[in-house]
Structure formats: C-alpha cells, structure tokens
C-alpha cells in the first residue's frame, strides 16, 4: 500500500459509515465533475476500499495516489488523480 502525506484534494467524497459499495458508487459520480489532473479524496471506514479503490483505478485508467496517513482518525483517506 502506498502512503501519502498532505495531499491537497479538489473534491472530497465523505463515505464514512456509509455501506459498501458506496465507496465505489459515489466517487465514480464525483470524478466525472473533476478536470483532468485534479485530485479526489475519498474518506471511508470500509477496509475493503483499500483493495477496491486501487483496483478500480487500474481498471478505469485513473491514477491511485495512495492512502493518507492520519493516526488520529478512525477512517481512511484515499486519493485518486483524474487522468481522463
């Protein structure tokens, strides 16, 4: 797993406490509204997202930047850069 620090996001999908597969459905919608090169931040407490989000990026030609390091939070922050 790639870890990143202090990444500035252009949009955030807050999916904390929202059930699977919302971590895949809502980012797909949000990324449509971003420009190429912009970064989407996904907040989720769902462990499966650590596999699902990178896999979705691979499959859809988007860049998975990594997981934010923040030990104070009970959820993950995942970052995607829109490539197309």
């Amino acid at each position: 797993m790639r870890f990143v620090t202090e990444l500035k996001a252009d949009a955030t999908a807050d999916l904390v406490f929202r059930v699977c597969p919302m971590h895949l459905l809502e980012p797909v919608d949000l990324i449509k509204d971003l420009k190429t090169g912009q970064v989407l931040e996904i907040l989720t407490d769902y462990d499966g997202a650590l596999e699902d989000i990178p896999a979705w990026c691979d499959k859809n030609g988007q860049e998975f930047l990594g997981v934010g390091e923040d030990e104070d939070e009970d959820f993950y922050k995942l970052y995607i850069r829109k490539l197309h």
Binding site: L15, V16, F17, R18, V19
Partner: protein, 395 residues
C-alpha cells in the same frame, strides 16, 4: 351522530390529492428503485423528485434528506446515528425534559449501552428552554443537543434559532424534532441553523409509515437500519415508494398552503380557547399563550380525569386526546406537564384538541356545547372536586 375529530396530532387522514398521487405506485409503477432496468431506474428518479420536494419545504438541499419509516425512526437516526459517528468528540448529550419518547429513549439507550451521559434540560412554566440555561449546561464533552421545535402535548414553539445558535458557537451538533411544526409554521433549516431536523409524513397529510431526517452536509450518521445502499448508504431497506410519493405531494401542498392554513387554524384555536374560558370554570391553559402551534389547544381541567372526559366526549362524537398519543394509554401523569411544574392532581385533567383544515367553527361550537356538560357531569361525582368546592365555600 355528528363526528368532530380533533386529534390531528395523533393521526390525520391522508389527503385526497396525496392518495391519488400514491395510487400508481402500488400496482403500475411498482419497481424496486435499486433495480438497474427501467422499471426500477424510473422509480429511483421518482424518489429523487420527492426528495427535492421535501427539501424545498424546509429550504434544504435534496442531498441532505434521508427518508425513514417514521418521525420516531428519524429521531433515532439523528440521536444514535450522530452519537455513534462521533464517539471521539464526546459522550454527553443534552435533551429537553419534554422531548418525545423517541428522543428520550434514544438518549437513554446511549446511556445504557454506550456509556453516554444524558442531561435533561428543565423548561419554564410554558415549556420553553432558556437559551442561557442551555449555554450554561454545555461542556467540552457535549456532542449533541436535541430540543423539539414544538411540543405536541402543550403546543409551545421553542426559540430554536437562539438555541441552535448557542450550540453553533460551541461547535455542538443541534437536532430538532419538527414533527409538530412542519406544515403548521415555517420550518426553514437555513433560518433555524439546525444541523438535523425530523419530519413525519402523517402530520403533513401523508400516510403513516414515512418520515424524513434532514442532516446538514458533512454531518456523519451511523445507519440504524443495516442493509443495502438505499438512501445513499445511510438507511437500509427497500424504500416505501408509495408513502414517499405521498410525502412529496404533501410537502408541495404544505408549502403552498402554509400561510392560509396557519391563519385558519389560529382562528379555530382562539375560538375554542375563548369559549372554554367563558363556559368552564377552573381551567388552566397549558403551554405558551401565544407562541404556540396554530391548531393546538391544551387544558388541564380541575376536578376531572382527562381519560374520563375523552371517553365522555367520544360518546358525543368528539375525538380529543389527553396528551401525546403515545403517552396517553399509559394512564400515568404526563412527564411533560410535570416538567412545566403543573401539580400532578391537576395534570390528571389534561385534554388536548388539535385541529386541521377540515375542521370548522361549527365543530368548535359543537365542542363548546358538549364540553361544559361533560365536565359538569364528571365533576358532580368527583370527590376531589367536591372537596375543592367545599373548601371554597368554607373560605
């Protein structure tokens, strides 16, 4: 026999326009909104239209609206959902002493199973929570405050804007249960500055079985009904589409009719209040005299029991209540009336009339004819009343 139904806070008939809007969704348009084919996706679009209609009624964004099965469920989602989503921020919750059982018992649940501390904020003699008292009761551990917009038992409308402002200053999440006020007085979440707000379908003329929780953007909620991704992953279970369509239609009508309805109901309310004052001695009006729901009249009548009066009125075709619909069957002294400082003996004589636009001045006059007779009859065999009148003669 004439029938005069004056218990609209407990149940209201579904409006004709609402029922007509709902009917296609029982048979022709029955698809599951989560299905991917057109029979389902069309219904998903219909659901989103209803979300927009309900959001407009309260000046919210449609993404801030989650449909539930009732106001009680929405209150549970607000209290438990927010509390469990923010455990790190604090484990103290403050509610007023006169909240609905769905708020009260959700708070008690958090105390019992999740180590929360629940504080019950006293009210004044009208049932109002003082903003300053709320401010003093906040502590760094306070996560959430819940104070109802209006009491369905005594009719008082709280100063929610001021109370929410106190919480906002301290970064405390604020919820209000607006079941009693929506469709009766303006309910605008931007004006009130609340973070969460509960609505109930039946209060607006929609069927039973549907409610709504407004949650301000970025307010996290732990789902209380675990299931699929319905309601954007915030509430599992296939949506009750016909009832939600009914709620959407009722919300549109409520928005259109609000000003006229409030004026009409206030007229009926004031007519009944004035008439009772004139015809029945030793009656105490409960709640605030003016800052109250337009169609709501509540009294405590000395020397009688509210249940007996309600039964006696029913025999004349008049349907009223002794308090909240949930509490009245328990035959206990109302905790709401006790919180207002009303003596338990007087609180036994509680009676509540709640109007809707299908009521008329003729209905009020019918009540004003039968109510004094029923009270007189009940008092004639009441030892409490006899003792009281003997004492008065002795004076």
């Amino acid at each position: 026999m004439k029938r005069v139904y004056l218990d609209h806070a407990a149940a209201t008939p579904v409006r004709r326009e609402v029922l007509e809007a709902m009917l296609p969704y029982f048979r022709e348009r029955f698809g599951n909104p989560s299905a991917v084919y057109d029979l389902g996706s069309e219904i998903k679009d219909v659901l989103e239209e209803q979300r927009e209609k309900v959001a407009r009624l309260i000046n919210a964004h449609r993404d801030e609206v989650v449909f539930t099965s009732s106001g009680a469920e929405a209150n549970n989602l607000a209290i438990k959902g927010v509390a469990l989503a923010n455990l790190k921020k604090g484990r103290r919750i403050i509610i007023s002493a006169i909240e609905h059982h769905s708020v009260l018992n959700a708070a008690r649940y958090l105390e019992k199973f999740h180590d929360f501390e629940a504080t019950f904020l006293p009210v004044d003699k009208y049932g109002l929570v003082e903003p300053e008292r709320l401010r003093k009761s906040l502590s760094p551990e306070t996560l959430l405050v819940s104070i109802q917009h209006a009491s369905n038992e005594v009719g008082t409308i709280q100063n929610i804007r001021e109370l929410a402002a106190v919480c906002r200053e301290q970064g405390v999440i604020f919820h209000t249960d607006a079941v009693a006020t929506a469709g009766q007085v303006p309910v605008d979440v931007k004006d009130l500055q609340v973070d969460l707000l509960t609505l109930n379908g039946p209060a607006l003329g929609a069927p039973k079985g549907v409610g709504t929780l407004f949650f301000r953007h970025k307010t996290r909620l732990v789902p209380q009904i675990h299931g699929g991704i319905q309601e954007n992953g915030r509430r599992g279970g296939t949506e009750n589409v016909p009832a939600i369509v009914g709620l959407g239609e009722a919300a549109v009508l409520a928005r259109q009719e609000l000003a006229g309805k409030a004026k009409y109901l206030t007229g009926l309310r004031d007519l009944l209040v004035a008439g009772v004052k004139e015809r029945v001695p030793c009656v105490v009006h409960t709640g605030h005299p003016t800052q109250r729901l337009p169609g709501h009249v509540s009294f405590c009548i000395e020397g009688i029991e509210g249940e007996a009066l309600v039964f006696m009125l029913t025999s004349q075709g008049i349907y009223a209540n002794t308090g909240s619909a949930c509490a009245s069957k328990a035959l206990k002294t109302s905790p709401v009336l006790c919180a207002l400082g009303i003596h338990p003996e007087l609180a036994q004589g509680s009676v509540v009339f709640t109007f809707n636009t299908d009521n008329s001045a003729e209905d009020v006059n019918y009540v004003l004819y039968h109510l004094p007779l029923a009270v007189g009859r009940l008092r004639s065999f009441s030892p409490v009343w006899r003792k009281r009148t003997a004492a008065a003669v002795g004076e």
